[in-house]
């Protein structure tokens, strides 16, 4: 029984690991922290898995646990902040990729997103993942109206950064 559950969980996480990697990519700055956070999210998911009833989609449930872990449960270790190295590897950013305006804008925006606070980051993340406002509101525990207002503010903040 337990073995079955383990197998089911690991298979499902293996198939959906992108969700967790994306949260890690947004909330950490180097490869070691990325792996640390991935590890902690996996443990939290596994701990919560026996109670997962399937009344929401598995992915919705994973977004929530992953974000909660990144924002609230995980203690950032202060060691190693090699932002530069990591970003160039992880976002495959090469200097010559950025010779036209659009690409430069993208680079600016990724940098700007990285500088946002934890909650703002979560909002932008859910926007980038194409989640609707009802899911965003439910994930964070705020009303839909507030999610909309807040999202507009964060978007405006980002736009000002790239178009000063």
């Amino acid at each position: 029984m337990k073995k079955e559950l383990e197998h089911k969980f690991v298979t499902e996480l293996e198939n959906n690991q992108n969700i967790v990697h994306k949260v890690c990519r947004l909330y950490t700055n180097d490869r070691d922290s990325h792996n640390d956070l991935f590890q902690e999210i996996t443990i939290q998911l596994w701990k919560a898995y026996p109670k997962f009833r399937g009344d929401s989609k598995l992915s919705t449930w994973m977004y929530r646990v992953a974000l909660n872990t990144a924002i609230t449960l995980y203690r950032k270790s202060k060691k190693r902040v090699k932002t530069q190295d990591y970003e160039s590897v992880n976002f495959k950013i090469k200097a010559d990729d950025y010779d036209d305006t659009q690409e430069r804008q993208l680079k600016l925006m990724y940098d700007a997103v990285k500088q946002l606070g934890d909650i703002d980051k979560a909002l932008i993340f859910l926007y980038l993942e194409d989640k609707d406002y009802s899911e965003i509101a439910e994930t964070l525990g705020i009303t839909e109206v507030n999610a909309r207002v807040k999202m507009n503010r964060v978007k405006k903040k980002l736009r000002t950064i790239i178009n000063p």
Binding site: T42, A48, L106, N146
Partner: protein, 213 residues
């Protein structure tokens, strides 16, 4: 021109192919590792606090020879003991219930609220314990000086002096100052300990709360 944020979204989704890929075995190994969640730290620290304060509140009462000689104080002492047990049991149950409510599948706001609630329970227990500790010390002081004067050097000195009340007053002041300093140090210690642990959580909670106004 296409909206910059739409552009970012498209690029973000395109970059999905560049994400790391972990194997089944990698993930399987991960589920057996120990969590380093800071909620665990709060749990351990809270248990240490329960034990520490409970032990400390037993110390004044354990100097039994002083209390044994005074029936009146003995009864108060017994009362205090019952009260401190009752308070301890009440807080442990409350702490346990709140701790069990911490659930990573709740919404972010609810999760933060539940963690802060656990912290609040412990904080209230600590203040109760400090109160109880002070009451016990006061009783001890009163006993030494007034009810059992032969036990106290101070009382002998006070009786020989011209103004015995002055000596009583001064020793009371010294005693109060000591309590004050002790509480101050404790308060600072807690601010520091939980301040470090809960700083980020409180910031994020405030950010979410701000949205509701």
């Amino acid at each position: 021109m296409m909206d910059e944020l739409e552009l970012l979204k498209k690029d973000w989704q395109k970059k999905e192919q560049e994400l790391p890929k972990l194997s089944y075995e990698d993930i399987y190994k991960m589920i057996w590792k120990k969590s380093s969640s800071f909620v665990k730290w709060i749990f351990y620290i809270s248990i240490a606090e329960f034990v520490f304060w409970f032990a400390l509140n037993r110390i004044p009462q354990s100097s039994d020879d002083v209390f044994d000689q005074s029936k009146y104080l003995n009864q108060i002492d017994l009362g205090l003991e019952i009260v401190s047990y009752a308070i301890m049991i009440f807080f442990i149950i409350k702490f346990y219930i709140n701790f069990k409510k911490i659930n990573a599948t709740d919404s972010s706001k609810k999760l933060m609220e539940n963690i802060l609630k656990v912290h609040k329970t412990v904080k209230t227990y600590v203040w109760f314990s400090i109160g109880l500790f002070i009451v016990a010390l006061l009783l001890f002081f009163v006993d030494m000086v007034i009810i059992e004067p032969e036990l106290s050097d101070l009382a002998t000195k006070a009786e020989g002096a011209n103004q015995p009340w002055l000596i009583y007053l001064m020793s009371a002041l010294v005693f109060l100052a000591l309590i004050g300093v002790t509480c101050g140090i404790l308060w600072l210690f807690y601010r520091l300990l939980y301040g470090i642990l809960l700083k980020r959580l409180k910031q994020n909670y405030k950010e979410l709360k701000k949205l509701e106004v």
